[in-house]
């Protein structure tokens, strides 16, 4: 039986007295697309940050392809093949868009050492093309609109050639049209192929999102967090009909 891609076991993280993530465990298979949902403050972003090494868990373990991630440096984790995007976008504003993506291509993971900068540029251009903003490659990142910034985030993340991609609210702040485009990109990315020069197969993904309707169309499975604990786990259809989940989102019996 194959090793799971990601094995999260009994991970907890507190900020002061607040248990932001409390004893969460789950597994992910290769190429699986997992939705991570929950009300505001449920600990979704904290959980992602624990996976990428920005935050260190107080206890528990995170294993990626059998390797322990807890205690590793952030750049180390990226080089193992975990990439993420930010909920509130954080481009390098003073760098051109293409350079933003090229930084990702510099990591030892996505290139052979000693590659010339021209080749790095070509790779970055591929990623931009995939994300659909290659025509603006030479502009400064500060000119991008909200939607394009999201695309830049995605381009940067895929340029490091990840096996596990963590998307924090990829639809956040986007118009319905932009949301559709982004959803299409994500599905296409998952299938691989189109982005073939970097990916023989699409990466596995964890997507944090509030726009559930869109999310449902993309993901294979959903896990629900509430107050830092794992509330439910299952196929999208099961989750929407789960009374506990409905209660967590809407409150018990309306607003009495």
């Amino acid at each position: 039986m194959a090793e799971p891609l990601l094995k999260v076991e009994a991970v907890s993280k507190s900020f002061g007295g607040l248990k932001a993530v409390n004893d969460v465990s789950f597994r992910m298979e290769q190429k699986e697309v997992l939705g991570l949902i929950g009300p505001n403050g449920a600990g979704k972003t904290t959980l992602l940050r624990l996976l990428t090494g920005i935050l260190k868990p107080d206890s528990g373990s995170v294993q990626f392809k059998g390797k322990e991630l807890v205690g590793r440096n952030i750049w180390n984790i990226v080089n193992l093949g975990v990439a993420c995007t930010f909920q509130n976008m954080r481009p390098f504003r003073r760098l051109p868009i293409i350079a933003n993506v090229m930084v990702s291509c510099l990591s030892p993971r996505s290139h052979g050492k000693g590659e010339w900068i021209k080749k790095v540029e070509t790779k970055a251009m591929d990623a931009l093309e995939f994300a659909g903003i290659s025509d603006m490659a030479l502009e400064k990142a500060s000119v991008l609109s909200q939607g394009d910034l999201k695309r830049l985030e995605v381009a940067r993340a895929i340029a490091s050639d990840p096996e596990l991609l963590l998307l924090d609210e990829p639809f956040g702040g986007l118009s319905p049209a932009e949301t559709d485009l982004m959803a299409k990109s994500i599905r296409r990315l998952h299938k691989g192929g189109r982005f073939g020069r970097l990916h023989s197969e699409g990466p596995a993904m964890i997507i944090v999102e509030h726009k559930l309707q869109q999310l449902m169309k993309i993901v294979d499975r959903i896990i629900v967090l509430n107050f830092g604990t794992l509330l439910a786990e299952g196929a999208p259809e099961e989750i929407v009909n789960n009374p506990q989940v409905i209660e967590a989102y809407l409150g018990k019996g309306g607003d009495q």
Partner: protein, 287 residues
């Protein structure tokens, strides 16, 4: 004419110093008070090597810069790296380091004023003004170094890594940049720049163990004026302050004593009117 020459030379020296200072601040968030102390050490190195030992001046330049860079790296590994997490402690450690270097130089060379012979003698005159070949050499070397630096930062992978790290450390880490290795490399570049400044400007200056204090203040003013962490800003601001200094020294009676205060006044004005400097990013944007 004197103003022009002095302005250019002071400006280019400040540019080298300030860019080195900005680089290491940008990448590692280290405020290196000892930066100009390394510049002093380099100047003394060249004094020792070329005057005392009588080595070829260009060979001494090379040795001096290498020596200073290695010293910088060793000090970083031993003193700064273990306390990297505490920015305040790092700041204090660099102040201590500057004083330590000053005392070492004081012990080795006493407090006497020293001077270094010009590497190339001679001068030519334009419109009745003497221009020493040494001045040309200094200015030329500085320009070459600045160009090389620009190429390194804008056209190479290392430069891109440095620029991204300077802008947002956390994001750069998340894109696979090895922060501690990059900090080491940047530190080496930064200290080497201070060393180069010391060796090329040394022959035009009088050496004494306190010579690091004046440029430190003016360099800080340059960095503030140009915008913290902005290399382009440091470059432009260095020449602005270089010329200001030259103007003050030549046009105001006893102006030589005023250059420090003038730099400080500029720094305070910038902080009051436009805290982010000429090319800096407003602090609200940083997280």
């Amino acid at each position: 004419m004197n103003i022009l020459i002095t302005g250019l030379i002071t400006g280019s020296m400040l540019a080298l110093l300030a860019i080195g200072f900005s680089l290491i601040f940008g990448v590692a968030r280290i405020i290196n008070i000892a930066h100009t102390a390394f510049y002093m050490v380099a100047a003394y190195c060249i004094f020792f090597l070329s005057i005392r030992l009588g080595l070829n001046p260009f060979l001494s330049m090379l040795i001096a810069v290498t020596l200073v860079t290695v010293t910088g790296l060793v000090v970083y590994k031993l003193v700064i790296d273990p306390i990297r997490e505490h920015e305040g402690a790092v700041l204090i450690a660099t102040i201590a380091l500057a004083m330590f270097l000053q005392e070492v130089i004081l012990q080795l060379f006493t407090g006497d004023y020293r001077s270094i012979d010009f590497m190339i003698g001679g001068f030519f005159t334009i419109g009745g003004y003497k221009i020493f070949y040494q001045q040309l050499l200094t200015f030329g070397v500085v320009l070459i170094i600045l160009l090389a630096l620009w190429f390194l930062l804008m056209k190479t992978r290392l430069g891109l890594a440095i620029r991204s790290m300077a802008e947002d450390r956390e994001v750069a880490n998340l894109m696979g940049m090895n922060e501690s290795r990059l900090a080491m490399i940047t530190l080496a570049i930064s200290v080497a720049l201070a060393g180069i400044t010391g060796v090329v400007i040394g022959p035009l200056m009088v050496l004494n163990p306190h010579m690091w204090e004046d440029p430190l203040i003016i360099m800080m003013a340059v960095v503030v004026l140009g915008g913290l962490g902005s290399i382009k800003g440091s470059f432009v601001a260095a020449f602005i302050l270089g010329f200001t200094e030259a103007l003050v020294v030549f046009l105001v009676p006893t102006g030589a004593f005023l250059k420090g205060p003038v730099a400080l006044i500029i720094m305070i004005l910038v902080l009051l009117i436009r805290p982010e400097g000429l090319f800096g990013v407003a602090f609200e944007e940083e997280r």
